[in-house]
Subunit: 295 residues, 2 copies
């Protein structure tokens, strides 16, 4: 993962090594900020407006008064260009915090300008995971109760993902009150008897943009969708499972803790959704049928 | 609240305006860090070792390998001295994050050095609140489920405290599953029929150091203590209530939402605990009896 050599901070493009923030930034003291990651497929952003809408909702959710939304598209495009990522698979990371103020829990006055930090990085498809699928572990969902806000208060996500990494797993499924909510940085989709189940949008999960695209694809293809959570005790009833997200796109999930999902191989609905999504994104590769051809 | 002009960052004392952190600091991206605030009463730290023990527990709780604990006492003392706060009521703020690394959820390798940021600031007693007490509001406790770790993932605390501020209240009491846990940056103690109730230490609250001191004082004075949570629906049965913390020390709570606590005046056990605590801390003022004399 190659990072930007040029980033954007507040009002300027500058070399990464010259970008610094104040320790008084409320992002550093309080995790008082939100973020988005947008994938650029050979220079073309995927679902940019959907990411902007979610960013807007996150900013509203924590009441940051951010007035520069209209500038974001041009800044992101320019970061892709200036870093030489126009013909690559890359992404931009946007972080907006409430700004710099002496450390006090209460919000500072509206004269404080939000901090805006944006960088680009290479993000080629995770082909091994896309093709072969991943194993996941399960853990109690210990996160806060406003997971619909894409905040930078990600400490629990990093702790739980790290547990997955140390067990050689590709993600950690989160269980709240007996039900799967989502994973540490992706949404969960489960197939049972031909129906795709995924947690309904609520304060307990992030409204995934890739998930939203896939649900539309399901409906177009006549695949039934049921937006209701699945019990973590019902893994033996799953035929297929996958995680979805901007980074993961679609990873088949072939094992949950010690239990194989279905046959332990990526299933047909998963493969169909990968094919449909990748036709939208890796259009340059479409002729190679990257996923299907390697099975 | 006057801040340090000199702060300590990583390996050096430096002027505040020259202190900057990388946007790649995991404290900025992920709230991947912990903190402590220690009050210095005219140059003398209060419960320094207890704060160090809690810091150690927080670092262990999120698995930051911090090897410089032995240096902290001298650095904090020096910040008080160098900023001219030796004969003031002041505090030091210590923040330790996992360090600087390219943004990935998984923990970086152990070759990454934690970021250490320490500053001092003036913190005179909040006399008005101490004397007259505060009103509080109540809200659902939406925080994560490891509140025993003093992490910098404080976004929910700031959001909930801000609601209190906007309603002219002095704190926000948090309610989980029908029970008071704690407030956004203080612990809760409740008096019913001569018994002091406070939430037992668990993953749902921070183990308060001031609370710990006060429970010891209660036991010494023969005041019964019951470390069990109180239902938020039982405010009409409270005779007294208070919040405790390093900053607040002891604020009487005289009203919870629309309900007066007891008579709506600070009660006798609250006053007794203030007197005992302030005898330990504001010893120079003991002759003035700051609290009692102004009632």
């Amino acid at each position: 993962m190659l990072d930007s050599s040029i980033v954007y901070l507040n009002h300027q493009f500058l070399p990464k090594e010259q970008a610094f923030v104040s320790p008084d930034d409320r992002g550093f003291y309080f995790a008082d900020g939100v973020y988005e990651v947008i994938k650029y497929y050979k220079g073309k952003p995927f679902c940019f407006m959907e990411h902007m809408e979610r960013l807007h909702n996150s900013l509203n959710g924590i009441r940051i008064n951010f007035t520069r939304s209209a500038e974001l598209s041009a800044i992101c495009d320019e970061l892709i260009r200036i870093n030489g990522f126009e013909s690559e698979y890359a992404a931009v990371y946007i972080q907006i915090t409430r700004g710099v103020a002496p450390r006090m829990h209460r919000f500072p006055g509206n004269d404080i300008e939000p901090t805006m930090y944006i960088k680009a990085f290479l993000m080629p498809p995770f082909l091994h995971e896309i093709i072969h699928g991943i194993r996941v572990i399960t853990r109690e969902d210990i996160r806060w109760h406003r997971c619909n806000i894409k905040s930078i208060a990600l400490l629990p996500n990093t702790m739980l993902y790290q547990e997955a990494v140390e067990q050689g797993a590709g993600e950690c499924f989160l269980v709240r009150n007996g039900y799967f909510t989502e994973a540490t940085h992706s949404n969960i989709m489960i197939v049972k008897q031909g129906v795709v189940y995924t947690h309904h949008d609520s304060e307990l999960i992030l409204p995934g943009i890739t998930k939203g695209v896939l649900l539309k694809i399901c409906r177009r293809l006549g695949i039934k969708v049921n937006e209701t959570p699945v019990r973590s005790s019902e893994t033996d009833q799953m035929d297929e499972c996958m995680v979805t997200g901007t980074g993961s796109e679609i990873f088949p999930v072939i094992q949950i803790d010690d239990n194989l999902v279905g046959t332990g191989q990526p299933g047909p609905i998963t493969r169909k959704l990968q094919e449909e999504l990748f036709t939208m994104t890796y259009w340059e590769l479409a002729g190679e049928r990257i996923v299907m051809s390697r099975e």
